[in-house]
Amino acid sequence: DAGITQSPRHKVTETGTPVTLRCHQTENHRYMYWYRQDPGHGLRLIHYSYGVKDTDKGEVSDGYSVSRSKTEDFLLTLESATSSQTSVYFCAIKGDGDTEAFFGQGTRLTVV
């Protein structure tokens, strides 16, 4: 398995609180992605990174921010969580010049 770890795996938080999800890789891959998975919507890209401190928005970036201060970590932050952000969040990594992406096991976030 590709060396990719998401933490936490499960989290319940209250509306209005900040939440940070972490994606950690040991593969030294250039590209990292954050997706959310919801029934009927498939996987939707939130943000992605193409290098340290280089990030770009995806399809559903509103309400989310990201940071990548070092190659191995890609953080997703919900500044003020809302119930609509209840979802399963997946991180993925991909090497430069590669086409296959490798996925983490997912983080189930519930906002109550």
């Binding site: 498939g42 996987l43 939707r44 890209l45 193409y50 995806g58 991909k94 992406a101």
Partner: protein, 112 residues
């Protein structure tokens, strides 16, 4: 505009029957096309991909997909499914600078 469209949200089929999962892509996108599979409570994993060359690509577990430029399609097929093929299948494309975009997914349910 949707880059990838999966026309069927669910496909029920009996074991040993053939199956086709449909995927159409926008003609404006690059022609790096993928099928990923997600088994219950797991992350996604690559099933097969089309980058260039032969328009028919195969996976190790009997699935195949054909790139059809005139119909902008990349349908996934298997001549005889097994119970273990029950999973969700996602079609995906790479846009621009390695932005990986997924369709809404097709849930394949194989019945005995």
């Amino acid at each position: 505009a949707q880059s990838v469209t999966q026309l069927d949200s669910q496909v029920p089929v009996f074991e040993e029957a053939p199956v086709e999962l449909r995927c159409n892509y926008s003609s404006s996108v690059s022609v790096y096309l993928f099928w990923y599979v997600q088994y219950p409570n797991q992350g996604l994993q690559l099933l097969l991909k089309y980058l260039s060359g032969s328009t028919l690509v195969e996976s190790i577990n009997g699935f195949e997909a054909e790139f059809n430029k005139s119909q902008t399609s990349f349908h996934l097929r298997k001549p005889s499914v097994h119970i273990s093929d029950t999973a969700e299948y996602f079609c995906a494309v790479i846009l621009g600078t390695d932005k990986l975009i997924f369709g809404t997914g097709t849930r394949l349910q194989v019945f005995p």
